[in-house]
Structure formats: structure tokens, C-alpha cells
Amino acid sequence: MQFPKVTLERPRWTPFNIVAAIVVVVGLGITVLRFTKGLAATTNLSDYNPWGIWIGFDLLVGVALAAGGYVTSAACYLFGLKRFHTAVRPAILTGFLGYALVVLALHYDVGRPWRLPYPFIVQQGTTSLLFEVAACVALYLTVLFIEWTPAALEWLGLKRARNLVVRLTLVLTIFGVVLSTLHQSSLGALFLIAPSKLHPLWYSPYLALFFFVSSIVAGLSMVIFEGALAHRYFHHKMDEAHRREADGVALGFAKAASWVLGGYFVLKVVGVAQADAWHHLASGYGAWFLVEVIGFVLLPCFFFAIGAREKNLRIVRFTAAWAVLGIVINRFNVGLIAFNYHLPSSERYFPHWMEIGISLFIVTIGVLAYKFIVSHMPILYAHPDYEPH
């Protein structure tokens, strides 16, 4: 067994590296402040606004955008769409990194992060949807880690361990889909307990379903989006199969995303009808709701369909970014913007720059980790010594 040598080239001062370095340094500084001076010194959280962007963005958006892992592996291994095979490893990798970063972000947000295991080992609050979210995220992070290990093990040359893990693919995939269904939906269901605080256009008994269905959109769009980025920056790392299949993956996923977005749009309309919230559409919040549902659900649905039909990759990639933005807006609306809608503006929340700083810091860590792994491990190419699984 021979371990690969990691050749760390001397960092070149490209604009990306400079920005990343600044973000990391500032982030480390804020980290020190956060754990010595507390949340009050680094956030705009208040008694009315106990959740800020570390939940609204890092948790809600983070988990949704990391859905590519379960969506892609389910499509390939369960639904037998083998032509998406080369998309699985990158999607699993981004899923794994995404969830790891979500958990990292939670360490900043909760008051006593070293107690994060308490809900499992001390007392189980099983009546809480947050318990379900926590349990599923913890388990799924483990699953994603195992699903990702073949790449690392191939890189390390640990053939037997790698083959053992590969044999678990089916079980892991099913387990991953079950866990994802549960916690993606539960993130929406978290807000079910607060009907008096979430605007009626967003509050719905279907919140769980909304979050689950839109997570599929997020997963599909992110795979397309990341694929486009990877092509741009890591083209040299890709093998023939990746390059050949990539366009098919983008078009196939665009078609699927179009269908799911269509269904999601119908669900949202049913939600408004069920709550009989039509009259709210005439308000400021109503206008914003229409922007979300028409501008970031219905229109991307059409454009995905057009892009897939015309086989136009530019449209597909553009629409993927658009749909991802739509998911971000939705999670922000539920978690921050339409939440506490009843409070006077003086009591509303706006993030502190340090909160934004930490969120950027965490995203940057993710990008750097992705860069490192993609540059060294067989993610965008199949390792020559191994059969693809």
C-alpha cells in the first residue's frame, strides 16, 4: 500500500486566492470573538428574532442545496438511469461537504455547541421536529461520508476497503433517500408550530411537502450548476466519460427539474387556496410572494422545459442558477422575511456584518475543500485501477 504524495504547490496569488485568504482570516477573527464574547457581540439576534442567517441561510439553504447527493444517487442507482453515473461522485462530494458545513455552522449558532450530541445521548425530545432534523442530519452526514469514501480510498490505494464500501452502495442510497426525505421536509415542518408568526401566504400545513419537493429542484439545479462550474474550472481533471455524459446529465436533469417545478407550483397554489389566503396577495407581502412563486418557480419551470427541448445548454445552466436563487429566496422568506411579519420594523432582524462574515467564511471553506478534493481524488474521472460502480 502506498499513500499518494500530496504536492502542495506554492499558493499563487490569483484573485480567487486573495479573496479566499481575506475571508478566511476575517472568519477566524470573528470565530474567536464569537466564542469569547458570545452571540451578542457578533450577531443581531434578539429575543424576538432567535434565528438569523446562520439558520436561515447556513441551515435551511445549505441543506436544500446539498440535496444533489441524494437526488443524483437515487436517479442513478435506484431509478437505473445509468447515463447519469458520472454525475454521482461530484454530487455526493458536494452533498457531503454541504452537510459537513451545515453542522459546522450550527456550532456557531447554538449557545452551547459542545452539547449538540445531548439530544441523542442525554434526553430525547421526540416531540420536537428539530429532533428529527438533528437525528436525520447526523445520520445522513455519516451516510454521505461513507458514500464519499470510495474516492478517498482509491486515492489512498486501499483497494479492499474501497471494494467493501462499494458493495454497500444500494443500501446507502436507500438509507440516504429515506433520511433526506425526512429531514428536508422536517426543516419546513419546523415552522408548523408557529402559525401566528409566519405570514399566512407562507404558513401552510403543507410546509413539509413544500420543502421536500423544492429540495429535489434544488438538488437537480445544483448538479447542473456545479457541473457547469466544474467544466469551466476543472475541465482538465475530467475523463472522456465525464465530458461525454455531462451534457446529457444537464439536459436530463433540466427536464426533471422542469416537471418537479411545475408540480411545486401547483402545490403552492393549492397551499394558498387551502389557507384561503387569496386576499393577502393584494398586500406588499402578496407581491413578494408572487415574485417568488411566479418569478422563481413558474418561469424557471418554463425555461428548463425550453432548454431541455431545444437542447440548449446555455439556457439550462442559466435557469439552474435562477432556480437555485429561487430556493434561497424561499428559505429566506420562511425563515427570516415572512417570519415575524407581525412585528414593527424596529423589532425586525437584519444580519450583523459578522454573521454574513461567518456565512461567507463557511462557504469559502467548502469551496477550498472541494478544490482540494477534486484536484487530488478521482471525482471527475474514474480511477484507472477500479471498475466503476
Binding site: F35, T36, K37, G38, L39, A40, A41, T43, L45, S46, D47, Y48, P50, W51, A74, Y77, L78, F79, G80, D109, V110, G111, R112, P113, R115, Y118, P119, V122, Q123, Q124, G125, T127, S128, L129, L130, F131, E132, A134, L170, T173, I174, F175, V177, V178, T181, L182, S185, S186, A189, L190, F191, L192, I193, A194, P195, S196, K197, P205, A208, H342
Partner: protein
């Protein structure tokens, strides 16, 4: 003083007697999972509150909370609408210019000690306990600090010690649970000089509230806030003006918080049980489809190979046959040639002409 300690102990005795006499019928009137039919509560009468902040002061003292920025005697703080915060379990606010009210009105805020608390249902480490005496208490030794309880509480009561780096706690009124178990009154109730706070068993308080409404017609609205709100609360409020005018939400509904999430939680075992079955099924179908496709492909290949082989054999046979024929023809040709040659040789010989040969008919 509203109720003396002795009277409180009397309350407790009556509670025991009441349990023996008619507890059952009363219990039936409580929401099914409200649990504790003899639970205590407090009735806050808005028409009696004079806004003196004595309850705030007492609360601060008995709970050993940090000293306030401005002294409790300073009624100037009433200028601003306040809420509970990490150093304040209870707050009195002033509301002015309310139609139908002669002067300003005051309302006390604190934890309502819900019968089915949203905070307790939301906490993922079960840091909250609904005690049999009615108090909803919090255990800081397990709290992770996720603050979901604050999201969940419809009355916006729990607060957080954001300024503590290592040991932040959720802070909220305890109903003076530690005092109750000692037979003492809650600090605020004990301190109220105008009997705006009445302490007792919740079901007695409901009766007392109704009696007051009957006794002073027109003084109260026919609504005991907290009787049904969010499934009912231990603390109850009666008022002469609409509750919305004194900052209380009237749109909370009567559904207890756990009811709101029951459906979503109920789905969990269904998904956990059905999904694997379904997905394995889909996998199996696709695998079968793949296998059949593969088999068909293989069969097609085999057939093609067989056909090609047959073709080749036929061609070979034909080629052989043709070769045979060619050979035969060649032999025949050779034989014929040889015969002709032989005949020609014979004709040149003196033995005379061979019949049938042109030379034979030729006159010599």
C-alpha cells in the same frame, strides 16, 4: 395583600377536598391532554392593575435577577412598550388612548404556563417540564441553546442570554415553582397591592372570573383569555377592552401547539417504513428491466452470430460445390481434349479415316 400564606395553604387544602368531591367532572372539562386537573394558575384582572411595577420588583428579588437599569419605582419606563428579556421575567406595559377606557390600562406579561406548552413540545432535549402544579420549568443543565423554544412560543416569552459566551441560558418565568413547592406564593402575586393577580386552582379561577363578570355587568368582555387560547394556559386574563388593544394576540386559535406538529411527526414512521420498500421495489424493477434488456441483447447477439455462422457455412458449401463443379468441368474439358488429341493422332495414321471425322469424307 391579595392572599396570605395561610390562605394559600387553605387553597391547597381545598384543592385536596375538591379532588375527592368533584374532580372527575371538572377534569372532563379540561382539554384531554391538559393533564393536571388540580393545576394552579393566576387570574390577571386588567381592570384592577394600576401599573405600579411592584410585581416586577418582587419578581426580580425572589428570582435573584440582575438589578434593573432604572429602579422599579421609576414609572417613566412605562413610556416604552417592553417585553421579557434575559434579566426580566415579567413586565408591565401601559396602553393609552384606548376607546372605551377612562384612563391608561396596564397589562402584565410573563410566561402563561400553557397547558400544552409549545416550548416544551419544541425542545429537542426536553429541557422543559410541565409540572403537576401547573408551572412550566426549564432545566439549563441540558439546554443546547438552539432557541427553537423561542421560535415556538406563541406569546414570545422565552429569552436568551446572548451576551454570555460559554453558559448562555434560556430565561423565563418559572411560576415561582421553587416557592410553590415550599408553600409560598409567586413573588408577583404576593406583592400586588391591588389584587389584580388572583392565585388558585385554574378551574376555580375560571369560576371566579365568571362570577366577577356576572357581578359587574358591563365591566368585562365575555372572554377569559387563556381559557382556550393555544389549548389553554394556566395564567388567565380578563379585561374590559378587547385584548388586541392591550397587545394580546387574538388570532392564536385554540389548537394546542403539539397538535400543530402531530401530522408531520406522524409521517416519520410511514416514510421510514414505506420508502425502503418502495425504493427497493423500484430498484428491483429497474434491475429486472436492465437484466431483461441485457438478456435480449445477448439473445440478439447470439442469433446474429448463429445467422452469420449459418451464412458462412452456406457460403462455404456453395464455394465447395462450385469448386467441385469447376473441377469436374475442368476434368471433362481435359478428357475431351485428350480424346480429341487421340483421335487426331489416329486420323493421321495410315489405318484409314475415322468415321465421322471431316477428313474421312474428303475424297483422297
Amino acid at each position: 395583600m391579595s392572599i396570605s400564606r395561610r390562605r394559600f395553604l387553605g387553597w391547597m387544602g381545598a384543592a385536596g377536598a375538591g379532588l375527592a368531591a368533584g374532580g372527575r367532572a371538572h377534569a372532563a372539562a379540561l382539554p384531554p391532554s391538559g393533564g393536571h386537573p388540580d393545576a394552579l394558575g393566576v387570574l390577571f384582572d386588567v381592570t384592577r392593575c394600576i401599573g405600579c411595577r411592584k410585581c416586577e420588583e418582587a419578581c426580580n428579588r425572589v428570582n435573584e435577577l440582575p438589578p434593573p437599569e432604572r429602579p422599579f419605582q421609576d414609572l417613566g419606563v412605562l413610556q416604552k412598550t417592553r417585553r421579557t428579556d434575559a434579566r426580566t421575567y415579567t413586565v408591565v406595559n401601559r396602553y393609552e388612548g384606548i376607546p372605551g377606557a377612562k384612563g391608561p390600562l396596564y397589562r402584565k406579561i410573563q410566561c402563561n404556563h400553557c397547558l400544552e406548552p409549545a416550548c416544551a413540545s419544541a425542545c429537542f432535549v426536553r429541557a422543559f417540564t410541565k409540572n403537576p402544579d401547573g408551572a412550566v420549568t426549564y432545566d439549563e443543565s441540558v439546554c443546547v441553546g438552539c432557541r427553537y423554544c423561542m421560535i415556538a412560543c406563541p406569546f414570545e416569552i422565552p429569552t436568551y442570554e446572548y451576551d454570555k459566551a460559554l453558559t448562555p441560558r434560556v430565561m423565563k418565568c418559572t411560576f415561582c415553582h421553587p416557592r410553590l413547592v415550599q408553600g409560598l406564593l409567586p413573588g408577583c402575586v404576593e406583592a400586588c397591592p391591588s389584587e389584580a393577580l388572583t392565585f388558585g386552582r385554574r378551574r376555580d379561577l375560571l369560576r371566579i372570573a365568571r362570577e366577577r363578570m356576572a357581578q359587574f355587568p358591563g365591566r368585562y368582555l365575555d372572554h377569559i383569555y387563556g381559557e382556550f387560547e393555544m389549548g389553554g394556559t394556566a395564567w388567565l386574563t380578563i379585561s374590559g377592552v378587547p385584548f388586541a388593544a392591550i397587545g394580546m394576540r387574538e388570532d392564536l386559535g385554540t389548537t394546542p401547539a403539539p397538535e400543530l406538529t402531530k401530522g408531520a411527526l406522524g409521517v416519520v414512521p410511514v416514510v421510514a417504513a414505506m420508502w425502503p420498500v418502495l425504493l427497493t421495489g423500484i430498484y428491483a424493477i429497474n434491475r429486472r428491466r436492465d437484466r431483461i434488456a441485457r438478456e435480449e441483447r445477448e439473445a440478439a447477439v447470439a442469433a446474429a452470430v448463429a445467422r452469420a455462422e449459418a451464412e458462412a457455412k452456406k457460403k462455404l458449401a456453395e464455394a465447395l460445390a462450385k469448386a467441385e463443379k469447376d473441377k469436374k468441368a475442368a476434368i471433362e474439358r481435359e478428357v475431351k481434349k485428350a480424346l480429341e488429341e487421340a483421335a487426331r493422332a489416329r486420323g493421321e495414321a495410315p489405318a484409314g479415316p475415322t468415321p465421322g471425322t471431316p477428313g474421312a469424307t474428303k475424297p483422297a
